[in-house]
Symmetry: C2
Subunit: 323 residues, 2 copies
């Protein structure tokens, strides 16, 4: 075995870690980020000196208490460990740039979840589960994937990866986003007119939008009423994007076929919620695209390295757009 | 509109259609095959003259009564509308070549069903369905598809298409067949040693084998005992390939995680079967790869056209192999 040369001695930089994780999760993240960047030491706020608090230009955050961020007066940016930053945006001081987690591994996991649930609906698995409970043997025609149009709302890293994967597996895909985007092999549209067009044509509607002022309640009773009879919905964005009561009503009327819900207005979904026992709803506990500690730590560590080397702050959230 | 020139006048050839379909299915197939080859007229046995019966060299068959085939003394070959011919092989006169349906569309439909059910297991959909019934919100780690090894038993048109599709979607795939095969991007093995290797390594075992003397009971109690703890099974071949009682026992012990069964020893699955209510079994009513009337009719019609033009009989089933 040849021994690697010792790294040159370097000052360890203390970085605040502001979160509401439990002790085990905190330890896992600290170990992973410090392993990926040995010149950084993550410290919870309580372990910082007054001088460290007063001078820290950057913090790693995971759903922080906003009051705690205001206790870091020199803060220029925060690196979120999560992709969704809807709770950070309204409360983070205006001069602090918010960098959300953009991880290609996360996009691949989301694309896989979208494909899994699209196939689950396309191949009538919920219907066959109901038949199984009734001991009923009845075959239904298999439609071709090309005859099944999937509308994907949200064409960010995750939505684009999902649209690509669906198209590669033979589905007809329509992508929709706030602003115009071009994705190979995917028909895209944008704006209010584009949304109406996607809602009217989709056999399966997949929501991969961030929660912003513009997407809160976007899939309203009126939007649901535009959908094809017998269409289905997959919500992998945020619960508050869909009007839950209106969705339930459409499912009960039989206007919509099935919903796969991974996100809810309140999480964990309360035990008393009527969604749990609805036979046309598949409940997932927010697992479509869980953060991967290993890959996300490498990305956060690399962002810190570039900042401390060059002063470069990664692309930040647009506070007006909300993502 | 320009009118197409009339086709030259041609004698219509009467072809016996020997089946146990209902009247509606019979009419659909006759219309589709005659549309695909206008010089052929399909007739049920009861509509043939004695001379037509005595001289017919070819028949279209769909699960025929063997006694009826013996009433066609000049028969040289039969075109089956189904891919599975296990009931034709033992009873068809030895001099009659059996041509089974080989349809690329069927292979694509099977590959899609395999991918749908592999993702359903990979992303823990049966576990989340049990949690939903218990109103339980609990997240489980998402494994990478590359860390999930899928063993595919059967490397014919359907198995090869399935293995390809799984590999294209990131899974690690091991293919197994009776005789040696090479499939791009798939590790393949064959024979008894190869089977043991695949059984021991697979996280998900997919059966896409034909039913033959060699595969009847192949997935015995001993074979199931070789499988990894916590592995799952998808049977899209034939029910009699798997020892149903041994499979139930392994599921009950918790040695196997889940089974997706589309085929059964007796179909339709009897209402009294304990499989219906088993929480670790997903029952599908033989829908993984239903015959597509349109594409299968075109293939049967083309085979008839080539035979009547050149006397060419398509590649027939090897009676010793059974497929």
């Amino acid at each position: 075995m040849t021994r690697k040369p010792e790294p040159p001695p370097a000052a360890t930089t203390i970085v605040p870690f502001v979160h509401r994780l439990d002790a085990r999760e905190e330890a896992v993240w600290i170990a992973a980020i410090e392993a990926a960047n040995p010149f950084v030491a993550l410290r919870p706020l309580s372990a910082l000196t007054v001088e460290e608090r007063d001078s820290a230009p950057v913090a790693i955050v995971a759903n922080p208490d906003p009051a705690e961020l205001r206790g870091l007066p020199a803060l220029r940016w925060v690196q979120s460990l999560w992709a969704g930053v809807e709770r950070l945006v309204p409360h983070t001081p205006a001069q602090v740039a918010i960098v959300r987690m953009v991880d290609p591994q996360l996009a691949a996991t989301m694309a896989e979840a979208v494909l899994a649930c699209a196939l689950y609906l396309h191949r009538d698995m919920p219907l066959y589960a109901r038949q199984q409970r009734a001991r009923l043997w009845r075959q239904h025609d298999v439609r071709s994937a090309a005859d099944r149009r999937i509308g994907v709302l949200g064409m960010g890293e995750m939505g684009a990866a999902a649209a690509h994967r669906l198209a590669a597996n033979g589905f007809s895909v329509s992508g929709w986003s706030r602003s115009q985007k071009r994705i190979d092999g995917v028909e895209t549209s944008y704006g209010a007119d584009g949304l109406t067009r996607v809602l009217r044509r989709a056999d399966i509607l997949v929501i991969v939008l961030p929660l912003t002022e513009a997407t809160h309640g976007l899939i309203s009773a009126a939007a649901l009423a535009q959908m094809k009879h017998g269409a289905s919905i997959i919500n992998f964005g945020r619960g508050a994007i869909v009007d839950e009561a209106a969705l339930l009503a459409r499912l009960d009327e039989g206007a919509l076929q099935h919903a796969v819900l991974d996100v809810f207005a309140v999480e964990p979904l309360p035990r008393a919620s009527p969604l749990w026992k609805h036979e046309r709803i598949t409940i997932l506990p927010h697992i479509a695209a869980p953060t991967n500690v290993e890959t996300a730590s490498r990305i956060a560590a690399e962002n810190l390295r570039l900042y401390f080397r060059d002063g470069a702050i990664p692309m930040a959230v647009d506070r007006n757009r909300g993502y």
